[in-house]
Amino acid sequence: MTGLTVEDALTPNIVAVHEDMRPRNVAIGPLCEVFAVFKELPSSLAARHPPFLGLIEPQRVGRYPLRIFADLVPRQHPFMFERSTPLAHVVSRFEHVSANAVAVLGSQHQFVGVVTRRSLLETLLEHEHRLRRSNFNAPAGPTMLAPELPPLEDTTPSGTLRSAVQRLATEWILSENREQQHLAGDIHDRLRQLLIVARLHLDQAQRPASRGHTSGSLTIVDQLLEESLAYTRLLIEELTPSGLRTGQIMSALEMLALDMRQGKHQVHVANVPSDVRLSEPITAFLYRAARSFLRQAIRDGVSSLITVSMEGEPASIIRVRVAINGETRTSEPEHASLFEQTIGMCFAGIQARGTLLGIAVSIETSPESTTALVLDVPLQGSSAPL
């Protein structure tokens, strides 16, 4: 979402305490956000890696002033992240749990620090201010041609053709490379992080010091594995959509609408011409473009209508229009899943791919709060559709 990792958002307002200490024996500053409890307390946390027992929020300390810190550590282990985890995962975790702090561990499972809701907010705000100060410009859209290719001198018809084929091949390789990078990035950011965190919790559960906390850690591992499986299913569906198995655009769009309706979004298909036949790449592009648009723009309480129509007299264009009636979802990264931000095509991506395939891509908006993605597929001839 921002390129930030959990390590960027560590709070300095943390008090490290020994498990046998009592709160009244600890100097607590007004800024203290969280206590980190250790089995041993060396003079410097960086010097050694003492066994980490858990986090305690100051409110809990105030409630049981006579208890030692070991008795204040919640039974449920704190949620832990590996230091390179993208910050978006912490945002997502805080949305689902009531805790105010999560622990950050290093690759050797050593305690690194704590991210609190406050430190997270401050880091994101600081990042936002920094971007504004540096007059941040959004990166340009995808490069369509490889600038490093040497200019071709051959201007004969066969030479021009060869040049066009070479450009097409280059573009294809670049495009494939970009897709693979997206996929690798997504697997790293999502699946790998889930599995790393699961392993951290599993290791914690296996330690003798965590006696009594094992079931809590195993519950978290179970949740993380369930999340990983759900993500894997989503990834498989994204890479090989069930809607494209028939190869027919209409059944693909019908399946897309059905899929969205199962996700509680009102999406329907209408104005279906009887004899629409398109090639496999065009069908795949239209399906993926419609799906990306719907996933990124639709939200609860609005409806969408996908129409397929022949335009022109005689018909020269097949128009696929995905209209959303009502306010669309904001494009704030926090509201879109990581998956949509990476694998899903954004509008620039849809337009770039459409241009390659000769398909005109545009966005229509109307005062009645209707936003539509319009995809115009030119027909090569009335008797020979694409």
């Binding site: 049981y64 070991a70 008795d71 204040l72 006696r211």
Partner: protein, 115 residues
């Protein structure tokens, strides 16, 4: 004229002397969820005072959080039976702030046929 010694307060001391029982806990402790002293501290104290090993049972309940019980008792009775007994018989008399000492007299009646 009052004697000089009667002008100040008079201190009366009473002492009740009793032998400190070791172990101070016979068979176990039932610890409430809101108890001022937690289970880890009690367990550490018991381990220092008493050579007998105590088993720690974690209870998922709104009143009782933990039970510390002599391990030897669990050889004669399963954890499930013990927890069921404490939940049924002891829990009604305690609040979440309490720490109760429990003395368990276990008698096992065996009947069998021998050839």
């Amino acid at each position: 004229m009052m004697p000089a010694s009667s002008s100040g307060p008079k201190f009366v001391l009473q002492a009740r002397i009793k032998e400190f029982a070791i172990p101070p806990i016979t068979d176990g402790l039932v610890i409430g969820r809101e108890a001022s002293i937690g289970t880890v501290a009690l367990q550490k104290a018991l381990n220092l005072l008493i050579p007998d090993h105590f088993e720690h049972l974690i209870i998922d309940d709104e009143i009782i959080a933990d039970i510390l019980i002599k391990s030897i008792l669990l050889r004669r009775m399963t954890k499930d039976r013990l927890v069921k007994f404490i939940m049924g018989q002891v829990k009604p008399f305690m609040s979440a702030q309490d720490i109760l000492q429990v003395q368990l007299d276990l008698e096992i009646l065996l009947t069998g046929e021998v050839e």
